[in-house]
């Protein structure tokens, strides 16, 4: 455990040093992270204003609150591993990682957390700015704030596990782009990114409850906004834990069979 902490600290330094080499691209990337939810926020504000100040049970100001919190949750749980794995396999970088006495997932987790630590404070400032500008309404209850912390952490872990597993598709196909695209479209509609799930047709809501996407983004947002009952919140937490376990099992199976193929056809 101590050795692992040491590794994470070292990876943090490495990520930090790398990030400072590319300050401009970091800035552009963060602008992108802000722009997407901002566009949805503006669109829904207009829709809400033209239909008398609310859509469903979301007022214009509540839409602002929703998308601003969503921006932060998305930022917290975001991974970019799917873009990297194919490149790692193609360029033989993975081979070197496999020769190290540590599973490469540790470097990825550490790298992810490190860059989050760097970008989150800035994103928080942006969020405060946006909240003021759009007069966002966020009214959480104390118990929800307390529960939000484990829920957010679980959302991150579940998303990380699933997306890391999905990235391993690169072991089987070189066309990972198509897989990623499908994933992102599902994510957009079923996680609450494009609109609060409560506003979508009930079949979509049921689907969202079954699939993992809601538990990675929409659920923490709804919780912090005070839109869930205690029972709903705890049920959601249960769903997250279930996906966490499923994710761990899935990752183990996929990683093992992926490595088997990799070491059979020529690493």
């Amino acid at each position: 455990m101590k050795a692992l902490v040491e590794l994470y600290m070292q990876q943090f330094k490495t990520t930090l040093a790398s990030m400072f080499q590319y300050r401009a691209s970091l800035l552009i990337w963060m602008i992108g992270q802000v722009l997407e939810p901002l566009v949805y926020l503006i669109v829904w504000s207009i829709v809400s204003n033209t239909s008398g100040g609310s859509v469903g049970d979301y007022t214009t100001r509540e839409f602002a609150g929703y998308f601003i919190v969503l921006m932060l949750v998305n930022q917290f749980t975001y991974t970019w591993i799917m873009y990297e794995f194919e490149y790692r396999i193609r360029e033989g970088i993975l081979s070197f990682a496999l020769l190290k006495p540590v599973n490469p997932i540790h470097s990825d987790i550490a790298d992810n957390i490190s860059s989050k630590l760097m970008t989150l404070p800035i994103m928080m400032l942006v969020a405060v700015g946006l909240a003021v500008a759009f007069q966002a309404s966020i009214s959480p209850v104390p118990w929800a704030i307390v529960l939000f912390i484990p829920v957010l952490l679980l959302a991150f872990v579940v998303r990380f596990l699933l997306e890391w597993t999905l990235a391993l598709a690169a072991f089987w196909t070189t066309r990972v782009g198509a897989i990623n695209q499908t994933y992102f479209v599902l994510m957009l509609f079923l996680s609450g990114q494009i609109a609060p799930l409560a506003l979508l047709p009930s079949p979509v809501q049921i689907l969202a409850d079954i699939l993992p996407f809601r538990w990675m983004i929409g659920f923490p947002v709804e919780l912090l906004l005070g839109r869930l009952t205690i029972v709903e919140a705890l049920t959601g937490l249960g769903a997250q834990v279930a996906w966490l376990l499923a994710g761990l099992v899935l990752l183990r199976i996929v990683w093992r069979s992926g490595i088997k193929i990799y070491s059979a056809v020529g690493a």
Partner: protein, 340 residues
């Protein structure tokens, strides 16, 4: 979290012979064949022709502790495939390997901590940051105690003259500088088994020599077992008493470098220093070159003494030297004989 902590061995490697044991190792790649032409391409959609290509075809040899062995063969002979199986990246089709008592492709952590695979022009190093950062990361990955790390870093820095490079971003380093840092990164954990695939490829002569003497020094100092491939015979001559030659996945030769030369060189080179290049020496042997009276002659091994004697009798010889054929030529002959 359950975590098995295995002790890191920083003492001299335990002498168990052999350190590397390879028995009837075989790797067959299955590739689907693509034929040219539209019809063939359509047919390929329905039924793909599978081709079995044996990259390594039943080789066996052993390495004892502290040996440096040259692993030679033309491109595509199966050298890299073998190294990848030995380091645990590839699963063989059949046959057995043990290295330090481990089966490599199980990739046990205790095994990975004791080996390294250095490949020319491939990066261990993180591109955007300084080598020192990458070294520190490796320290954490291999759980090298601070003391050992500092000592080893200092030794590597001295031997490879890394001091001025340690804090530059890797992308600003030259090929040779990067290679030196790659090697250092691969050896920080002081592996007792070192696999090197073309460690001097693309480097200038001075840099090649430096890396060569470094490998010798590392082997000497830590008693490490080294298996290295190279296309530069100077590397092999300087480092390896023993060579293993493979061709088309099969073992051709496994013995002392000197007996390889003995067995396969049918010629010797005689260099005579005359006053000028006027004399015609064609009748004595094959004249390779003549510059300022320095004649290089190639003669059959059996006739060396006779030709030397005649040269000394017939010409005012200033100086005379008899050499074995260049090792490149010898290796070429080995492969040529295999084809015949």
């Amino acid at each position: 979290m359950k975590r098995q902590i295995s002790p890191i061995i920083y003492s001299e490697p335990t002498v168990t012979s052999p350190v590397i044991h390879i028995n009837e190792l075989r790797k067959i790649y299955t590739v689907s064949q693509q034929e040219a032409g539209a019809v063939a391409a359509l047919k390929g959609l329905v039924q793909r022709r599978k081709l079995e290509i044996p990259a390594v075809d039943g080789i066996s040899f052993d390495l004892t502790a502290g040996e440096i062995v040259g692993f030679l063969g033309p491109n595509g002979a199966g050298k890299t495939t073998t190294l990848k199986m030995l380091s645990g990246l590839l699963h063989p089709t059949s046959g057995g390997v043990t290295v330090l008592g481990y089966i490599p492709w199980k990739r046990e952590k205790a095994y990975l901590r004791q080996i390294t695979l250095v490949m020319g022009q491939r990066n261990q190093l993180v591109w955007d940051i300084s080598p020192l950062h990458s070294f520190e990361l490796n320290r954490a990955i291999y759980r090298i105690p601070y003391d050992s790390y500092r000592r080893m870093l200092k030794e590597l820095t001295d031997l490879l003259e890394l001091e001025p490079l340690l804090n530059k971003p890797v992308r600003n380093l030259s090929l040779g500088e990067r290679m030196k840092c790659e090697i250092a990164a691969g050896l920080l954990h002081r592996p007792s088994v070192v696999f090197m695939d073309e460690p001097t490829i693309g480097l200038d002569v001075t840099m090649q020599r430096r890396i060569r003497s470094f490998i010798a020094e590392y082997n000497h100092r830590f008693g490490a077992t080294v298996l290295l491939t190279s296309h530069y015979m100077a590397d092999v001559e300087a480092l390896c008493r023993r060579v293993v030659v493979i061709h088309q996945g099969r073992l051709l030769f496994d013995s002392d470098l000197s007996s390889l030369v003995q067995k396969f060189s049918e010629h010797k080179t005689i260099i005579v220093q005359l006053r000028d290049c006027q004399a015609d020496l064609q009748s004595y042997g094959e004249v390779i070159s003549c510059n300022d009276g320095r004649v290089v002659l190639r003669v059959p091994k059996a006739k060396t003494a006779y030709v030397t004697e005649r040269l000394l009798a017939d010409f005012p010889v200033v100086d005379l030297l008899v050499e074995d054929s260049p090792i490149e030529e010898v290796i070429e002959r080995v492969f040529a004989q295999e084809k015949a």
